[in-house]
């Protein structure tokens, strides 16, 4: 009897600390930390780190589990499965690239753990009616729509496409063709390339021979610099270079003033936009990481903030899904609301911006209500 009492008492004592303390809040984060997309991935890593820092300083305790996909969809899927089955997270932010995000999105409903995609543009990600997939950034068709509307007042007539043979490249150009056709633009060249080649001169010469008014480019990272260098070499000078985000918005690209000046790009975010906290975020990011944040950093920051904030109030995956669906936020990415519209599910109808590199500085030039500077058109070297 004594023994039984003793063991009961021990059991109660052991159980007490567990009962007093709630299970820690666990959120996963998948990103391209290594691999070809690692350079942009670093922006997401830093943005997320800053968000976690801010949340902790506000007293939100969160166990933030980071996974690397190396830019490879099968690694991204493995990372998601590990996060939901082994780590027991209730929500996941990521992955970065369209290829990875699309594959992970297709499994989110199976595991019933909400996925918040911060920066991947492929339309299908939120077009398949997945209940557990949310997207903060604007999808691919907005990239081309906003770019083409920015130059529409100047009445260009022809367009050429040069783009990476990736999910992002192909889907962005597909929507650009639709938008260009509705504007009455004539397509004079369409060049898809395999990433990482040393020589695009032949491709660019062909584009130059077609003499387009607009050259629409989709590239990741260093390819953007390579393409613009060789475009300068062969003397390709259309009325405007339109870069669809990614490689054309990085600080590294902006630093190459000789080739990047006056290049126009679609972006999800700029540091001079008048959304609450945007300028302050840029300042703090710069101070902490000694680099200018790209839009990816802002997307990751806001996605992590929204995910953790909502998860802290809801505590289970099912309630988190409902919380994301019902909530609305207004932060550095402007107003955020996950809505169902024109075929999309849980898609934030994010207003994209158009930026232009003017003397090494990124200036917001479109839409007028968010910008201070005017677009320089036509392009000149």
């Amino acid at each position: 009897m004594k023994k039984l009492l003793l063991s009961l008492a021990t059991a109660v004592l052991l159980a007490l600390p567990l009962a007093g303390e709630a299970a820690p809040l666990k959120i996963g984060f998948i990103n391209s930390i290594t691999g070809k997309e690692a350079q942009i991935g670093e922006n997401l890593t830093n943005g997320a780190a800053l968000a976690i820092e801010d949340l902790r300083s506000k007293g939100v305790q969160v166990d933030f589990v980071r996974e690397d996909d190396g830019g490879d969809p099968k690694n991204a899927l493995a990372a998601y499965e590990k996060l939901v089955t082994r780590d027991g997270v209730i929500g996941v932010v990521g992955p970065y690239t369209s290829g990875c995000a699309n594959v992970v999105a297709s499994r989110a409903d199976q595991y019933q753990v909400p996925l918040l995609v911060p920066a991947a543009a492929k339309e299908e990600i939120t077009r398949n009616g997945y209940k557990n997939v949310f997207r903060l950034n604007a999808p691919a068709d907005v990239y081309s729509r906003v770019l083409l509307s920015a130059v529409a007042p100047y009445k260009p007539k022809t367009i050429a496409y040069v783009y990476a043979a990736t999910d992002f490249g192909v889907s962005t150009v597909k929507t650009a063709q639709v938008n260009a056709a509705s504007m009455g633009l004539k397509e004079v060249a369409n060049e898809k390339y395999q990433q990482g080649q040393p020589d695009y001169r032949a491709t660019l010469s062909k584009v130059k021979a077609a003499n387009p008014d607009l050259v629409f480019l989709v590239s990741y990272d260093a390819d953007a610099i390579l393409l613009m260098r060789q475009a300068k070499e062969i003397g390709l000078a259309p009325k405007a270079f339109l870069g669809a985000g990614a490689g054309y918005t990085t600080a590294q690209f902006a630093q190459q003033k000789e080739i990047s000046n006056l290049v126009i790009s679609a972006t999800q975010w700029t540091d001079d936009v008048n959304w609450p906290g945007a300028a302050n975020f840029a300042k703090r990011y710069q101070a902490k990481f000694a680099k200018e944040p790209s839009y990816h950093a802002a997307c990751a920051y806001e996605a992590v903030r929204i995910m953790v904030d909502t998860a802290a109030k809801t505590r289970t995956a099912a309630k988190l899904r409902a919380g994301l669906k019902a909530g609305s936020w207004n932060g550095i990415m402007g107003p955020v609301k996950f809505a169902d519209y024109s075929g999309f599910t849980n898609q934030n109808n994010h207003p994209m911006l158009v930026q232009q590199l003017q003397n090494g500085k990124t200036e917001t030039v479109y839409p007028a209500q968010f910008s201070k500077k005017r677009l320089v058109y036509p392009f000149k070297r």
């Binding site: 290594t34 691999g35 070809k36 690692a38 350079q39 670093e42 043979a165 060049e191 898809k192 390339y193 395999q194 990482g196 080649q197 040393p198 020589d199 695009y200 001169r201 032949a202 491709t203 010469s205 062909k206 021979a209 990272d221 260093a222 610099i225 390579l226 613009m228 260098r229 060789q230 300068k232 070499e233 062969i234 003397g235 590294q252 190459q256 000789e258 080739i259």
Partner: protein, 289 residues
């Protein structure tokens, strides 16, 4: 005009491919080893050029005077420590060893230099000479083509005239007979591997100002070098030189007249066609390896 532009770009960029191909072919000829670490040796050349430029402020093309001896020595030591052990072993052992060495090099580079692509921007990185007829010739490509030509000519003279060069060729033609004639074949192997490494590193350094520098950048060049060697005839230095130019021109023409996306397909279709009719490669000897 478009044709001429494609031809010029193709020949110029083919020059660097040729240099990478020659290095691989020389190693195969003398040692009968397919060096799968060749692309990674090229990557090391890129980083050497990058650090010479950023830390020592030496122009990447001028830095070759430093890169060539350093990489020769590295290749020489690599052969003495690792490669010579598998010279008389089956091909699969040699392939595993060189792939392993390549993996160690690229992953060490990943750890040391991170996966951020580095951009080497010289004053001439995006400049070109424009002729009156509208033809544009890339300055960095032209410079690297001239350097490639000089190096190839020197290498040719060395192989044809010097006693070490003759000994290398003798080893390449018949290892046993060369040894019986009193040639130190072990030393010849080390020299050949050293030269091969130096050529790979040179090709890497030459491409650095126009490409981006990344720990895995060598991999796409490995496949290209191998294709060039087989196309030209394994072990044939002249064949590799011509093969490199052919690949450069075919890529450029395919991108101009078919589609950028299809240029690799065109290259490999041509490659298979050549192998179908001349299995020994364009300049290979019949009955050779």
């Amino acid at each position: 005009m478009l044709f001429l532009q494609a031809l010029v770009s193709g020949i110029l960029s083919g020059g660097v491919y040729a240099l990478a191909g020659i290095g691989m072919s020389l190693v195969f000829g003398v040692m009968n080893i397919s060096n799968f670490a060749h692309g990674d040796l090229m990557m090391l050349g890129m980083y050497l050029a990058y650090f010479a430029f950023t830390l020592l402020h030496i122009d990447p093309y001028l830095a070759l005077l430093l890169i060539i001896p350093v990489s020769f020595l590295f290749g020489f030591i690599l052969e003495k420590v690792f490669i010579h052990r598998v010279i008389d072993h089956p091909h699969q052992n040699q392939i595993l060893l060189t792939i392993g060495l390549g993996l160690i090099m690229s992953n060490t580079a990943l750890l040391a230099f991170t996966s951020d692509p580095k951009i080497l921007t010289t004053t001439y990185s995006s400049s070109a000479i424009n002729t009156a007829s509208g033809l544009s010739i890339s300055v960095p490509l032209l410079l690297s083509f001239v350097i490639t030509s000089v190096i190839t000519a020197v290498l040719y003279l060395f192989l044809a005239k010097s006693s070490t060069g003759m000994a290398l060729r003798a080893t390449s033609q018949n290892r046993e007979a060369a040894q019986l004639m009193g040639i130190n074949v072990a030393k010849m192997s080390a020299i050949a591997f050293g030269i091969g490494t130096a050529l790979a590193a040179t090709a890497g350094a030459l491409i650095a100002p126009t490409y981006y520098i990344h720990p895995l950048a060598g991999h796409s060049f490995l496949l290209k070098s191998f294709t060039i060697c087989v196309l030209g005839g394994l072990g044939s230095v002249v064949g590799a030189g011509v093969g490199g130019i052919i690949i450069g021109v075919v890529e450029s023409m395919a991108a101009t007249y078919i589609s950028t996306d299809w240029k690799d397909v065109v290259v490999f279709v041509l490659f298979l066609t050549v192998l179908l009719f001349r299995p020994q490669g364009l300049f290979g000897k019949k009955g050779g390896q």
